[in-house]
C-alpha cells in the first residue's frame, strides 16, 4: 500500500513533478509527506493541502491509500 502525493500549478513547477507514490513508513501527517518528497524545499507559507480531495491541514494524519495534494492559493473563476 502507498500514499499518493500530488502537486499542482506553481508548486508542481517548483518541486519539479506532479505526482509521487510513497510508502507510508514513518509518514504520519501531510507535513511528513511533503518533507519526504521535497526535503530540500520548505513548505511555502501560502501552500494549501487537501487529503482525499478535501481541504485539510499539514498536521492532519494520513493513512494508507490516501491522496495528499499540495497547491498554491486558487485563482479560478
Amino acid at each position: 500500500m502507498t500514499i499518493t502525493v500530488r502537486f499542482f500549478a506553481s508548486l508542481a513547477d517548483r518541486v519539479g513533478r506532479r505526482e509521487e507514490l510513497i510508502s507510508n513508513e514513518g509518514i504520519h501527517t501531510a507535513r511528513d509527506a511533503w518533507m519526504h518528497c521535497v526535503s530540500d524545499i520548505p513548505i511555502p507559507g501560502n501552500a494549501l493541502v487537501a487529503i482525499n480531495q478535501e481541504y485539510s491541514d499539514f498536521d492532519a494524519t494520513i493513512k494508507e491509500g490516501d491522496e495528499v495534494a499540495f497547491f498554491p492559493p486558487v485563482t479560478g473563476g
Partner: protein, 150 residues
C-alpha cells in the same frame, strides 16, 4: 442542475438558454447569471493566452456540494456552473454561473455566493503568457463585491 469542467470553448448565453429550456415556463421569475471572461490585460501587462489547470475530481466534487447547499439554503430552482480548463485566448469565457429562482433576492444572492466560493475555494489555477512570451502564474484573484459567504 449541471456542473461541468470543459476542455473546449463554450458559448455561455447558448448554455444558459439550453439550461433554461429544461425548466417549466412560468415556474421561475428571476435568473441571475455571471460570466467571467479572459481579458487581454492583467496587472498592467498584455496577456496573449492563458492556461487553466484544475484538480480533476476535487473541483467537480466541491462545486456539486456547493451547488446543492446553495440550492437548499436559498430556494433555488436550478443552477448551472461551467468552468473552462486548458489553453484559452482573450475574449474566451472562463466561467459561467447561472441561477434560477422564483424571486430576485435568492437568485442574486445565490449567484454571488457561488462565484465568490468558486474564486476563493475551487481548485483552479491560471497561468498567463505575456506578450514577450514569458509565462507567469496568477498569484491571487481580485476582491469580490462584498462579503457574501456566510
Amino acid at each position: 442542475m449541471r456542473i461541468e469542467v470543459l476542455e473546449s470553448a463554450f458559448d455561455p448565453w447558448r448554455e444558459v438558454f439550453k439550461q433554461e429550456s429544461s425548466l417549466s415556463p412560468g415556474s421561475f421569475g428571476a435568473t441571475a447569471v455571471f460570466v467571467g471572461t479572459m481579458r487581454d490585460m492583467n496587472e498592467g501587462d498584455t496577456v496573449t493566452q492563458m492556461t487553466l489547470e484544475h484538480y480533476a475530481g476535487m473541483t467537480e466534487g466541491h462545486l456539486s456540494q456547493l451547488a446543492q447547499q446553495v440550492q437548499a439554503d436559498h430556494e433555488i430552482l436550478d443552477i448551472v456552473i461551467l468552468h473552462r480548463v486548458g489553453t484559452i485566448t482573450p475574449g474566451d469565457p472562463i466561467v459561467l454561473v447561472g441561477v434560477w429562482s422564483e424571486h430576485r433576492a435568492e437568485a442574486f444572492e445565490a449567484c454571488e455566493k457561488i462565484v465568490e466560493y468558486l474564486k476563493s475555494q475551487a481548485p483552479f489555477w491560471k497561468k498567463e503568457r505575456l506578450s514577450d512570451g514569458a509565462d507567469r502564474w496568477v498569484e491571487h484573484n481580485t476582491a469580490g463585491p462584498r462579503q457574501v459567504l456566510n
